[in-house]
Each structure stands twice: as structure tokens, then as C-alpha cells.
Symmetry: C2
Subunit: 165 residues, 2 copies
DNA sequence: CATTTTAAGTCAGCTTTGTTGACACTCCAA
DNA sequence: TTGGAGTGTCAACAAAGCTGACTTAAAATG
């Protein structure tokens, strides 16, 4: 990467190449969310609920503050979503064992069921894309995505990976 | 892609790998939109305006119907955005030369100025990501994104590339 | 030529998901 | 014991999506 030829640089860093990358991100993200969105619509939930459920599933016992930082929304916005999930019995909130101000969040059995349904759909598309592109393409895909993240989110992304891989 | 070993398959198609890909998409998309969003916020426009501007810049003279298909929103939703851009003199609408029902959309000079400002910011991040990941990673990135798209959008994505590359 | 279909625009009303700002309560730590 | 952090909640608002109904003009079709 450090010792590219001038021509090679130009080939993949032209404005046109970058524009295509931008459009690819836009169209791909639509596909990325399409399947879960379908499921959610039939259940009176939205993408915001999915995101909360995803990260609680990913880090059981996570606190509200941690979730806020992950999702990058305001406390009020998350709270509205979280409240419906608590009321509907998909998420359980336990008072922090050491710090009693904190609420630790867990999926209930039915929360887990919905999570599985959503993530099965999303992973199915991902799996098909990965399979058709092949392992080397996937490695590149991951590299570029990581480089696009804000440093703070990249840090969080790595932290997530460490705790579960 | 056709002749992978079983082990290799398992290595990059595990649920955990797919989950990481999903999270990478989520965090990267935040970065992807962060810079234009900052600029837009200071100008009382939103992401929806950016998207309209982008595709009009990309395909000057495009019709409203074509834009609708690209963006995947309703006519009413697009219209609200388009109206403010017309009123503010960023987009120009000309009656179709052959079919007078159609409106062909063009950026005005100031529309082009905003487009450049937004896409410079977005491309800068993209360029940095591409450069740090290298040309092979970029190729893989594009392959996976393309495979994630819905077929109809993939078709449109290719059409876009043909007309401008 | 009459009818139907298409492209575009508009009005009204609703939903989701984000935002500020203000405030209360609990609890940890200095 | 006081200041600040973590959480929850109220109110009000904005962006951007949606549905449904309707108009106008022009093209396409019979």
C-alpha cells in the first residue's frame, strides 16, 4: 500500500472510482436493511428496535450508556425504543450489581426469538454475498469498511469483536 | 469461489464472521454519512436532499420517475425535497423535449457548488479508506457490496456506471 | 377521435426516529 | 455531604418516510 505506482494509484483513487464506491455503499445498505425491515414492519417495530436488540444480544448485560454510545443517538430517542421493548417483554433490565444506578440489559426468551429471526434474515443475505464474492474479497470488504469508520466507533467495533470472537 | 475447501468455507462464513460484517456495515455507514451530514446541517438540508442532488449530478437531465426508482421513496416524499431545491434554485426542472409530461432535472450553478462541497467531503473519507486498504481490498469491497444489492438496484447501479465511466 | 394510461404535482394526515431542553431521582466518590 | 454521573421522563419539535385521494397535461391506444 505504501509503494504503489503512480498509475495504479490513479486507477483506483479517481473521483469516478470513489463515486462508484459511494453509490455501491448506498445501494448495498438498502439491501442490507431490506430483509429485517420486512420482518419488523409486520411486528410494529422499526430499525431502531432492531439495532437495540442487536447490540443487547451481542453484549448481554450492557448498560444504557454503553448502548447509547454504540447507537449514536440521544438518551431520549433510545429510551422510547427501549421502553416499548421492555413493556413488550423482549428486553429485561436489571439494576447493576455493583453500581446500582446502572441498568444492565438482557434479552428475554421472546427477545432472543425475535433477534434470531431478524439476524437469520440479515445473515442469509450476508452469507450469500460473502459466498459469491469469496474469502479474499470479504477480507478486502472488511478492511475498507473499517477504514471508513470514525476512530471512536472503530475502537468500539474492535472491543465488540474481542469480547465475542 | 466454486472450489473452496470445506474448512475455508467455514472460516469466513461462520455466524460470527457474518455478525462482524453486519456490525462493520453499520459503523462504516455512520462514517460514510457523517461528513456530508455536518455540512447539510449548517444549511438546513438533510440527507434526503443530498441523495437527490447526488443522482441529479450523476445523471443530468434525469426524470423524476427515474430518480424515484433510484432513491426508492414515494413520489410525495421526493417531491417535498425536490420542491425546496427548486425554490432555492439549486435544481432546475425543464419540460421534456420529446415527452412533455416529463420533467428533466439539472443542477444549477449553485446546485453544482453544493454538490461539489458535499461530494468532496464524502470522497475525501472514501479516498482515505481506499488508500489505507489498498487496491485489492477495494476490489473485494466493491464485489461484496454489489452482491448485497437487490437485483433491481444492482441493475441500476450498473446502468449508472455505464453512462459515466 | 375517444378513451385510457402515464408523468408529475399536490393536499391532508399519520408514523418513526431523530433532536433540545428541563427536571427528578439514585447513588458513587471525593 | 456535596458534586457529578447514570438513568428515566416530560414536552415540543423536525426530518423524512408512508398512504390515499385528486388534478392536470400529454401520450398511447383502441
Amino acid at each position: 500500500m505504501a509503494d504503489l505506482q503512480g498509475d495504479e494509484m490513479r486507477l483506483f483513487l479517481t473521483d469516478e472510482q470513489l463515486r462508484q464506491g459511494i453509490e455501491a455503499m448506498f445501494f448495498a445498505y438498502r439491501g442490507f436493511t431490506a430483509d429485517p425491515d420486512m420482518i419488523l414492519a409486520s411486528k410494529a417495530y422499526g430499525r431502531a428496535h432492531h439495532r437495540a436488540i442487536h447490540f443487547v444480544a451481542r453484549s448481554p448485560g450492557t448498560t444504557v450508556n454503553n448502548l447509547l454510545a454504540m447507537l449514536g443517538v440521544t438518551k431520549q430517542s433510545l429510551n422510547r425504543v427501549l421502553r416499548t421493548l421492555l413493556q413488550d417483554g423482549l428486553i429485561e433490565s436489571r439494576v447493576g450489581p455493583s453500581d446500582k444506578r446502572e441498568r444492565h440489559l438482557y434479552l428475554t426468551e421472546s427477545g432472543n426469538a425475535l433477534e434470531r429471526e431478524l439476524s437469520d434474515a440479515q445473515r442469509a443475505r450476508m452469507r450469500a454475498a460473502y459466498r459469491s464474492a469469496g474469502p479474499e474479497a470479504v477480507a478486502g470488504f472488511r478492511q475498507v469498511l473499517e477504514a471508513m469508520m470514525d476512530p471512536e466507533l472503530r475502537r468500539r467495533y474492535h472491543t465488540l469483536r474481542e469480547t465475542t470472537t
